[in-house]
């Protein structure tokens, strides 16, 4: 490293590229810790799914597959619009950038509204966690599944309001969709 680059002690990076690299690395380390946070939930799911196959099967059968699946398409598409808005911003196309950001927001709101409708149905049907469980299907572990349903689908909701996590929420949902809605044994 040449001496002139080190003359300004306030600037830690010798050039633009290494500053950007450091920023990306920091973001990925942060996303990694978020993935590990959610892994705890996925590991718990795996553990109890292994212990209570019948309860899991009945509870998955009971979930609202159409709403869950439409929400999957909504989230995947919002990931596209977020990625596109960034690509348009790099090309300095202001109109298209704002259009894509607006579309992402609209899709985010759609997701929340559908989630609200689904939660309302689950509450009325008594598919609630632990001792509040009073749905019309009974098997050991079914109430435990509902714990995972409410925690796993509820945790990403507040995070979704922060644009930074958008793709990560999409990633988590990609795994939640088959685990919560589709894989009835």
């Amino acid at each position: 490293m040449s001496v002139p680059e080190l003359l300004n002690p306030a600037e830690p990076f010798p050039d633009e590229a290494s500053a950007e690299h450091a920023g990306h690395l920091g973001m990925w380390v942060f996303l990694g810790t978020e993935i590990l946070l959610f892994s705890g939930l996925f590991v718990g799911y795996a553990y109890y799914r292994f212990l209570f196959p019948l309860g899991w099967s009945l509870a998955i059968e009971h979930t609202h597959k159409i709403i869950g699946s439409v929400n999957t398409l909504v989230l995947l598409t919002s990931s596209l619009t977020v990625a596109l808005s960034l690509a348009f911003a790099k090309e300095r196309k202001r109109g298209l950038t704002s259009l894509m950001l607006l579309a992402s927001m609209a899709l985010g709101v759609t997701f929340l509204v559908l989630k609200g409708v689904e939660y309302q149905k689950e509450i009325v049907e008594g598919a609630l966690p632990g001792k509040y469980f009073h749905a019309d299907f009974h098997a050991p572990g079914a109430d435990l599944f509902e714990c995972f349903y409410w925690i796993a689908t509820g945790l990403p909701l507040p995070l979704e309001l922060v644009g930074l996590y958008w793709h990560l929420i999409d990633l988590i949902w990609i795994f939640l969709w088959p685990l919560i809605y589709l894989t009835r044994s």
Partner: protein
């Protein structure tokens, strides 16, 4: 290829894979369908990470940091599930797959002979 075209193609791929997940769920393959469903989810996650999250253009330390997370998740998952699969039955909750004991009478979510055991809240 233009970035925007590439993103649209990835989206088409994601939709096709989502369709595959849905079709799989209607086939009722039982436990055999589970690993396939997870494999499809991994493929989708791979597309999102590689293209939408730009991992394709990152190199060196960033890929290493992400690979470390994958190793940690794999360790956490495999060791925990192995524990569940190899425990002595009486050490597991009554009514579970590996327990010789029935679920406790009146336990929430347990099959009950008495309908009054589950008062319904309306």
């Amino acid at each position: 290829m233009k970035t925007t075209t590439e993103y649209l193609l990835v989206w088409v791929g994601l939709m096709v894979l989502a369709g595959a997940s849905w079709a799989l769920s209607t086939m009722r393959l039982g436990e055999a369908g589970f690993p396939i469903a997870i494999a499809i989810a991994v493929a989708k996650a791979g597309l999102v990470i590689a293209f939408y999250m730009h991992m394709r253009h990152e190199h060196g330390s960033i890929r290493l940091a992400f690979a470390t997370v994958l190793v940690l998740v794999a360790l956490l998952m495999s060791i925990t599930v192995t524990d569940a699969a190899t425990r002595w039955g009486l050490a597991m909750p009554p009514g579970s797959r590996s327990s010789p004991l029935p679920p406790p009478i009146g336990a929430q979510g347990s099959p009950s002979q008495n309908p009054d055991a589950h008062p319904r809240v309306r």
